[in-house]
């Protein structure tokens, strides 16, 4: 039994950690940029960033397959180098990163937009460069939102199924994450294994959201005092 539970669990944890790390920085960078950006294509860029949230995951997966597959320029280049992304472990990370990015981006952006621009400006007039303003003022003030964003993105990664299946497939011990393993376990009639994996996802997701709720409550209380 353990040999069919442990590999998907480890793959999922590895994927979640790697993906959250990527989404964290990419999401914050994009959010910070868009929060103060007011160019012509603001709304279009914003929509593109959020698009994976509303598209069917299969469409995202299909798109990634076209973008990274063997017949694409990127895929061809990798092929020439003797490697490929599709149906490999990095593919689970790419699929999950694209799917969890919108949540990270949207939530972090909301946090950055709430930071009073006067407070950032005050830091500037006191001689702080943009880097120092960001790390000593913007980030600490937006921190509660960043924490929310990260936990939501993490939970989204853990639950990612459609795009992962399209891009990474179901290779046991290599690309089969928990959600993918659950699907194929049920297909194969292994309900007990599916049940255990489902319970694991449920516990981790519920715990993340509960911790987040407690954290938010604490922040709100601190803000009131």
């Amino acid at each position: 039994m353990a040999e069919s539970i442990l590999p998907p669990l480890l793959i999922s944890l590895k994927t979640v950690l790697a993906t959250t790390a990527i989404t964290f920085f990419a999401g914050i960078a994009a959010a910070r940029w868009m929060a103060r950006y007011s160019g012509r294509f603001k709304n279009l860029i914003d929509s593109l960033f959020i698009l994976p949230l509303v598209l069917p995951p299969t469409v995202v997966g299909f798109g990634l397959l076209l973008l990274l597959g063997r017949n694409s320029p990127i895929g061809g280049l990798l092929d020439a180098l003797g490697t490929s992304i599709v149906f490999s472990w990095p593919a689970t990370v790419i699929a999950a990163a694209v799917m969890s990015f919108p949540l990270m981006y949207m939530t972090a952006r909301g946090g950055f937009e709430q930071v009073d621009i006067n407070i950032e400006n005050a830091a500037r007039t006191l001689g702080a460069n943009e880097w120092r303003v960001f790390w000593t003022v913007t980030m600490p003030l937006a921190w509660p939102s960043i924490v929310s964003a990260t936990i939501l993105a993490l939970a989204r990664c853990l639950g990612e199924f459609g795009a992962t299946l399209m891009l990474a497939g179901n290779i046991p011990g290599k690309t089969a994450t928990i959600p993918v393993a659950i699907y194929f376990n049920i297909q194969g009639g292994h309900y007990d294994q599916a049940m255990i994996l489902a319970a694991i996802v449920l516990v981790i997701s519920l715990a993340s959201l509960t911790i987040l709720a407690y954290y938010k409550q604490k922040v709100r209380k601190a803000a009131r005092n």
Binding site: N118, A122, T125, L126, G127, N129, P140
Partner: protein, 359 residues
């Protein structure tokens, strides 16, 4: 010494101002949306004008011709924001020290202690801004801004969020600040009384332009035009024609009212008999009188609002209440005779308080 000559175009609004400040307090007075805050932001480097230059003590901060626009962090300008903009996640001490971290530790310590006692909260350095009263927050913002010894201190409506009592206290403190801070100070306000009390020089803004920039007494006693007069509180303005000039006296006949008013002005030589002028008076200078002296007008009381110490009364120069000029008067409660709407009475307009200006 700060020299400013800038132009900034925005959709539907253009800011075009030029002034200089030399070791003094300039108060910028104007309605909201007249470009006051925008001027401060341009000086601080938080907004980039389209044209012109800004120089501080000989250093160029902005020059469109030379394509120079120093970022805010390199300008060494103190800014006190309307909402104070303290760092809520830092203690009072850390807030004040934010702009002087390049100094040796010992010096930072000494300077923050000195500033904390200057703003009368020597023991509250460990608190967070939201644990202070609004007046204390305001003083912390001031201390934080002057800690790096900026070349010029900019204050944007610094007292607008405070009650009257605290305001007075802080105005006093701002004036005493000049003992420790020797640079230029510019502050923005829409409150004439405050601008007059705190500034030595006043710039009156209207729709992105300076209509008058002068010593404060000059602005208040000889406003340059009708809109400046309105802004500095001369609510009663009527058109008239000069009938006689002698020494520093000018007599003005008010159109459509049988009254000739004597005005005392040092600039009587500027006017000529027959010239069309505007004369005005502040509501608090209008008095109710009994006898027929000179400079009296017979009016009808139209309405009044009773106040704690001052009654706001509106008179009409036309006795049946239709047409005529309206004269607003602030009459101290003790001087208010028993009158009700429709009553006739005489108003004395003291010649030394009448203001004359070109039409």
């Amino acid at each position: 010494m700060l020299e400013v000559d800038i132009k900034k175009r925005l959709p539907g609004f253009t800011l075009e101002v030029a002034f200089s400040v030399n070791r003094e307090i300039l108060s910028i007075l104007g309605r909201s949306g007249s470009g006051k805050t925008m001027t401060l932001l341009s000086i601080a480097g938080l907004l980039c004008p389209d044209e012109g230059y800004i120089k501080l003590n000989g250093n160029v901060l902005f020059d469109s011709a030379k394509k120079i626009c120093l970022p805010a962090q390199k300008r060494n300008i103190g800014f006190v924001f309307q909402n104070y903009a303290l760092f809520p996640h830092l203690t009072v001490r850390e807030n004040i020290a934010y702009g002087i971290r390049h100094l040796p530790k010992q010096e930072i310590q000494e300077k923050t202690c000195q500033l904390l006692s200057l703003i009368h909260i020597p023991d509250l350095g460990h608190r967070y801004p939201n644990e202070l009263s609004s007046g204390q927050q305001q003083r912390v913002a001031l201390a934080r801004a002057i800690a790096p010894s900026p070349g010029v201190l900019l204050l944007d409506e610094p007292f607008s969020a405070l009650d009257a009592l605290r305001k007075e206290q802080l105005e006093y403190e701002l004036l005493s600040l000049q003992q420790v801070y020797s640079g230029d100070i510019i502050f923005v306000t829409h409150d004439l009384a405050q601008g007059y009390k705190l500034g030595s020089k006043m710039a009156v803004y209207e729709a992105g332009r300076i209509v008058q920039c002068d010593a404060k007494q000059k602005v208040v006693y000889s406003p340059i035009n009708r809109s400046v007069a309105r802004l500095i509180g001369v609510r009663n303005l009527v058109d008239g024609k000069v009938t006689k000039i002698a020494d520093n006296h000018v007599w003005v006949k008010i159109d459509s009212v049988c009254a000739e008013l004597k005005v005392i002005t040092e600039e009587s030589s500027q006017y000529a008999v027959g010239q069309e002028v505007i004369i005005g008076i502040r509501p608090e200078c209008v008095r109710i009188c009994q006898n027929n002296e000179e400079n009296t007008v017979v009016c009808m009381l139209e309405r009044y609002i009773e106040g704690v110490d001052i009654n706001h009364v509106r008179f009409n120069t036309c006795k049946d209440g239709s047409g005529g000029y309206l004269i607003d008067a602030n009459i101290p409660t003790g001087m208010m005779p028993q009158l009700s709407a429709g009553h006739e009475c005489k108003l004395y307009l003291p010649p030394e308080h009448l203001i004359i200006l070109n039409r």
